[in-house]
Amino acid sequence: MNQRVSTDGSSLAVLLDATSRGDRPAFRALYEATAPKLFAIVLRITRSRPMAEEVLQETFIKIWQNAERYMPESGQPMAWLAAIARNRAIDRLRSEKIERNRADDDQILERLVAPAAGDPAMRQALGTCLKALDEESRDCVILAYCSGFSREELAERFGRPVGTIKTLLHRSIKQLRACLESE
């Protein structure tokens, strides 16, 4: 069965609701609609196909078990699903202390400005506020969130002590929040 499901929030919320009641076709449709995106997010973090496949599998087992915990106030369904996948991927990396080869994606900021799905206003605001950070801070935030870099990996990458990276991250977080609240 290959149902076409759009990834807009309302249809995903309907699928999540049906999944929470044990509706397997809905669960399958939810997988079809969101797995390629979640797999891409997890691949970018783990940089290992076998690990990304395991994380994706575990993510959907968790979604099946916890779908009833999704509430509209939890935010956009896709953000809720992505958070489960990202958390699992990062837990794996941190607990196993995986050494990864570095592959960077410089296009992330450009793509943030390009038209895509999701809330255009939020995307634009984040793009603007990330650009307002100094270059090193911006790279740290993006490499951490998108590529799963730890403080140590960031420290190595930028040739700075881990403590400096922590300070820089904290400063960036405060600046981002202030900027996003004013946007």
Partner: protein
């Protein structure tokens, strides 16, 4: 909102908290609704970055594994398990047949010898078994995958928690037999592989987890409460 808490929430979402702080933070999240709110706010702020990932189709194996794991405990189990057993038997039969033929070609044995070989006890078929191990509730604690070709058991911990000052010990309970220790679940490790020579052949029964004194059961049999169990199901 305190500044400190919000920085922790943001770093949790960024993924930059060190492993021990991250584990403590996850623990705090369970009982702190305001902190969950802070995390959700950061997830929403940064979510547009997820849109920059170009979708990649996962291999079909992933869905099959999810389907199997989520079918455990539901009405789909008997049918699915039955089909798997039949598929496994077919493979065993095929494997034994091809071994016999290979033996015939290699050694020039008589046809009678081939027939003899076919009536030998089952040989170890290469195969995989999986158990989704839980506490009888709906949250799976761990997934155990047995690979009989390599005699290894891969254990992935999802929500299993080691009580402080104790150890979680993993057991295989073959059908109608006493539990056999597979070793200690290393606390805080999300995935570990256990070498187990006895798993280099078809396995059945349960995978169980008991709470033991630190370092494991002193007697070789479970002494503490069995906190999680899951039935081994052949896959592929």
């Amino acid at each position: 909102m305190s500044e400190e808490r919000d920085l922790d929430a943001a770093e949790y979402v960024l993924g930059t908290l060190p492993a021990d702080e991250r584990a403590r933070f996850s623990e705090r999240l369970k009982s702190d609704a305001a902190l969950r709110q802070d995390v959700r706010a950061w997830e929403a702020r940064l979510a547009p970055l997820d849109e920059t990932a170009t979708p990649v189709a996962p291999p079909p194996d992933v869905w099959r594994a999810i389907e199997r794991a989520t079918a455990v405990g539901s009405t789909a189990v008997p049918e699915a398990a039955g089909t798997n057993v039949i598929a496994l038997r077919r493979r065993v039969a095929f494997w034994r047949g091809s071994t016999a033929v290979a033996g015939l070609l290699a050694a020039g044995l008589a046809v009678v010898a081939v027939v003899d070989r076919l009536s030998l006890p089952p040989v170890a078929a290469g195969g995989r078994y999986v158990a989704v191990v839980d506490s009888g509730g709906h949250e799976p604690a761990l997934i155990a995958e047995v690979d009989t070709t390599t005699g290894t058991i891969r254990v992935r911990s999802l929500t299993a928690e080691t009580p402080s000052g104790r150890s979680l010990e993993l057991w295989h309970v073959p059908e109608g037999q006493a539990p056999r220790s597979l070793g200690i679940l290393k606390a805080g490790l999300d995935a570990q592989t256990i070498n187990d020579a006895a798993s280099a052949g078809p396995v059945d029964g349960l995978i169980a987890v008991s709470v033991e004194p630190e370092g494991g059961s002193p007697s070789g049999a479970p002494t503490g409460p069995i906190v999680y169990t899951g039935r081994l199901i052949p896959v592929e």
